[in-house]
């Protein structure tokens, strides 16, 4: 059987970073092909390329060849992809909330009054709303879904929305390849089997399916073959007979680099931070009903797949996103409604988007480092009659910054150099310096080594350890670098679908960690 889709040496670079490295992939007609991988593995990029998303074109396109039904193709935009017969069920549904189910499903292919179409052409043909509804009801019936096609999508439950999203794609007559991006993530338990059965039905009709999911059980149940991506490379290609959940999970995270830094630290039993039924409404990363005790002086790692909530705890505590439930610092309740509150109490957040939210790129190192301390702690200011209008004490701030540049080894010409000109690693150090100037008791750090070269990564991790040792700052580090987390943290909180799935010691088994990330537990006997 000839493959419907063939990728040969497909690569993609964003700037200097190689996100996809020479991917080879083949999917045959009627095959359900699972695509697995961690955050940053390259899955989304691959999907974006296959579906012609604008971001690919805008960042320099891709290299390598893609063959569809035997012919080499160049997908320039989503319109091309759709015309060729590629359909996509998006993770964040591509549904128009204010339009009805029928309108959404028939978008671009509405039923019209044929006379108007003949006279005026396809674009100006008058839509026959009744016929649209009837044909939509038929499509939905075939799916086994009972929804009134006249309802507006915004009034539907997430479950139903998922099915509408699917219906739109499979009702396209020329569909040959269907890409499903986390299609079961939003479904309730009862609907998953139905969905998987639908997939099997489509496959028996000859439609090739690429199934992207983090739910290993489901993937293994329904796929014919599985490809695992890691760090932009294809690290495993498994046929049905080779499906083994431990093997799969392990290949997803690779071997954690263990440069033994095992610190047996004596963590006193004192609890510094306590979460009681804490929920954060962070779009795309929400968490629910978190109950967690954080010990004074510990370094706590928080890990999850992307979108499963590791970033939400810090962001919610500091008040960037709405939250509910209670947070207690040293036994006292913190008001998480505004960012200022947490900071006043000695909690500080280093955001994951360093360039977007962590720095004032056009300002100097000096200005960045002292910024928060000036605004919140009123440090580095000359005394003044009218405090809000006080000026910076240049001598004091300069000497402090010079010291910290040395301490953290920030490579720069001078403290007055524009932060935007520094390398990623040094920029991160400036962020750290700014946090230190605040003398926080609790420090939340998100993705401390993202986008930083290897040497700088080591330095930053070391500095974090130093700070924890010397000053005793409690740190909560959210990261996707599992090896680093295992190295420097005492405990690791694994989040899955917005809740705490497990709290593991840092010297836990790699496989246990990998499984936990996918919401699976180690079988007691293996």
């Amino acid at each position: 059987m000839e493959s419907i889709l063939k990728l040969r040496n497909v690569s993609k670079k964003y700037g200097d970073q190689e996100i996809l490295k020479s991917i080879n992939l083949e999917v045959e007609a009627g095959e359900i092909h699972g695509l697995l991988g961690e955050n940053g593995a390259g899955k989304s990029t691959l999907l974006n390329i296959l579906f012609g998303r604008a971001v690919i074109r805008e960042t320099g396109g891709y290299s390598g060849e893609i063959y569809f039904q035997g012919k080499e193709i160049n997908i320039k935009n989503s319109h091309d992809a759709i015309k060729m017969g590629i359909g996509m069920v998006h993770q964040e549904f591509a549904l128009i909330p204010d339009m009805t189910v029928a309108e959404n499903i028939k978008l671009g292919r509405e039923d019209v009054y044929s006379l108007t179409e003949r006279l005026l052409g396809s674009g100006l043909a008058l839509i026959d709303k009744e016929k649209n509804h009837q044909s939509t009801q038929m499509i939905l019936k075939q799916l086994g879904v009972d929804i009134d096609s006249r309802l507006k999508v915004l009034n539907l439950s997430v479950n139903f929305k998922q099915f509408v999203e699917l219906a739109r794609e499979i009702s396209k007559e020329n569909l040959d390849l269907l890409i499903l991006d986390e299609p079961t993530a939003a479904l309730g338990q009862d609907d998953v089997p139905c969905f998987l059965a639908l997939m099997n039905e489509l496959s028996s009709r000859g439609i090739a399916i690429i199934f992207v999911s983090h739910r290993l059980e489901e993937v293994m149940a329904v796929c014919h073959r599985i490809t695992v991506l890691r760090d932009g490379e294809k690290v495993a290609a498994l046929g049905r007979d080779d499906f083994d959940i431990n093997h799969i999970a392990e290949s997803m995270i690779g071997h954690a680099i263990c440069q033994a830094q095992a610190q047996t630290r004596n963590i006193s039993g004192a609890i510094i931070l306590q979460y009681l039924n804490f929920s954060v409404d962070m779009p795309g990363e929400a968490i629910e009903n978190i109950n967690l005790d954080v010990y004074k002086g510990e370094m706590l790692g928080i890990v999850s797949l992307s979108g499963h909530g590791k970033l939400a705890l810090g962001n919610g505590t500091v008040g960037l996103y709405p939250s509910s439930g209670q947070v207690l610092l040293d036994g006292k309740k913190i008001n998480t409604a505004e960012a200022g509150q947490a900071i006043n109490s000695g909690i500080y957040l280093l955001p994951e988007e360093r360039r977007e939210a962590g720095l004032l790129l056009k300002h100097s190192i000096l200005e960045n480092v002292i910024f928060s301390a000036v605004q919140q702690k009123k440090r580095f200011l000359k005394p003044s009659i009218f405090p809000p209008l006080s000026f910076i004490d240049k001598k004091m701030s300069l000497s402090y910054v010079k010291e910290i540049i040395q301490h953290l080894d920030i490579r720069c010409h001078s403290p007055r150099q524009e932060v935007g000109q520094l390398s990623g690693g040094n920029q991160q150090k400036v962020c750290l310096a700014r946090a230190l100037a605040m003398e926080p008791h609790v420090l939340f750090i998100a993705e401390p080594t993202r986008g930083i070269d290897i040497r700088a990564k080591e330095i930053i991790l070391e500095k974090l350890l130093d700070i924890n040792r010397e000053i005793g700052t409690t740190m909560l580090i959210a990261s996707s670098e599992l090896g680093e987390i295992k190295r420097i943290c005492n405990r690791i909180v694994v989040m899955y679908e917005g809740r705490i799935f497990a709290i593991l010691p840092s010297d836990c088994d790699d496989i246990e960690l990998a499984l936990a990330l996918s919401g699976e537990r180690l079988e007691s006997s293996c």
Binding site: A339, L360, Q376, L389
Partner: protein
């Protein structure tokens, strides 16, 4: 011009001005006198353009709602004239009233704009326009007692143009004048303008000024540092409004007339154009850019008048100014916006 931030608009304007200078020389007009005029007009209009700076720096865009602040200034001057206050003290009384009005109007304006982050410019245009007509209503019915301000016939409602000759017309212009041959330097007015520039410069070195700059450059960053973004924006907008009120007072005393009713309707656009010519780039705009931009812009005004007259097309000069003003703003919208996206 500074920091190598050349944009096409600046180059075109410089070219255009170069052309004008040549034409003027060719037609026998005195370039010295014309440039002198530009300088005086810089001092006269500069504060209005300066008033755009606080809102730009805090990330609220160009203040097309300038008429709001202008109305506060007009109110201040009418109050001063009503109480027959003259001379420098009269001007300062007007400024005081204007500032009070500016704070009040500015606060209300700021509360509304805080609801519309990202769309302040378009909303500002219409808030400004609508406010002009609310105030027109007010000018027509308000109980001012100074008969010289009212319509001669009927005696109710303010005149559209109130002459300041008996009050404080040109008091600042005439304060400490330096005559150097052909050139007349109104040192008093210049110093006043310079003083405001310096005060603003100092403001941005203070704790609150720094916070304001941060909010404009990166709102998330500011929030993460615990800054109350809403309050800082309100402060910046009030500052802009007060400066606008002051600016119109200086303008009016130099011009010699207080112009009411729909005169302030389109005043935001030349100011916007001036700051854009100066090379303004959103929140990174500087005071130097304000000064250069205003000077270049006023020079265009100063030159197009007499040249148009020489070519026997007097009304055309006004139309050419409209084209230049809006052309500059449109260019900035189409091309600066592009850069921000990238």
């Amino acid at each position: 011009m500074l920091k190598g931030r050349q944009n096409a608009a600046q180059i075109i304007i410089l070219f255009f001005l170069g052309l004008m200078v040549l034409l003027a020389w060719h037609s026998g007009l005195s370039n010295t006198r014309l440039l002198n005029d530009s300088l005086v007009r810089l001092f006269m209009n500069g504060i209005l353009v300066l008033s755009l700076l606080p809102m730009l720096k805090v990330g609220a865009g160009i203040n097309y709602g300038l008429p709001v602040g202008i109305q506060a200034g007009l109110l201040g001057m009418c109050a001063a004239v009503n109480y027959r206050l003259t001379g420098i003290s009269g001007l300062f009384a007007a400024l005081l009233f204007a500032c009070i009005g500016g704070v009040l109007f500015g606060y209300a304006y700021a509360r509304i704009l805080n609801l519309l982050k990202g769309k302040e410019e378009i909303a500002g245009i219409f808030i400004g326009f609508a406010f002009v007509f609310i105030m027109s209503f007010f000018w027509a019915v308000a109980p001012f007692s100074n008969a010289g301000m009212l319509w001669p016939i009927g005696g109710k409602g303010l005149r559209p143009t109130i002459g300041l000759d008996n009050y404080f017309s040109k008091v600042l212009n005439k304060l400490w004048v330096l005559n150097l041959g052909d050139i007349i330097l109104p040192v008093g007015m210049g110093l006043f303008f310079a003083l405001l520039c310096l005060l603003l410069y100092a403001f941005y070195k203070t704790k609150i000024g720094i916070a304001s700059t941060a909010v404009g450059e990166n709102e998330n960053f500011a929030r993460l540092s615990g800054i109350d973004v809403e309050r800082i924006r309100i402060l910046a907008i009030i500052l802009s409004t007060v400066l606008a009120a002051v600016g119109i007072c200086i303008y009016a005393q130099s011009y010699g007339f207080v112009e009411l009713y729909d005169a302030p309707l389109m005043m935001a656009f030349p100011a916007a154009s001036a700051i854009l010519i100066g090379g303004s780039m959103g929140a990174g705009t500087s005071i130097i850019q304000v000064i250069i931009g205003t000077f270049l812009f006023q020079s265009v005004y100063v030159y197009t008048g007499p040249i148009a007259n020489t070519l026997l097309l007097p009304e055309v000069s006004e139309i050419v100014r409209v084209i230049i003003v809006n052309g500059i703003i449109l260019y900035a919208l189409l091309y600066e916006g592009r850069r921000e996206k990238a």
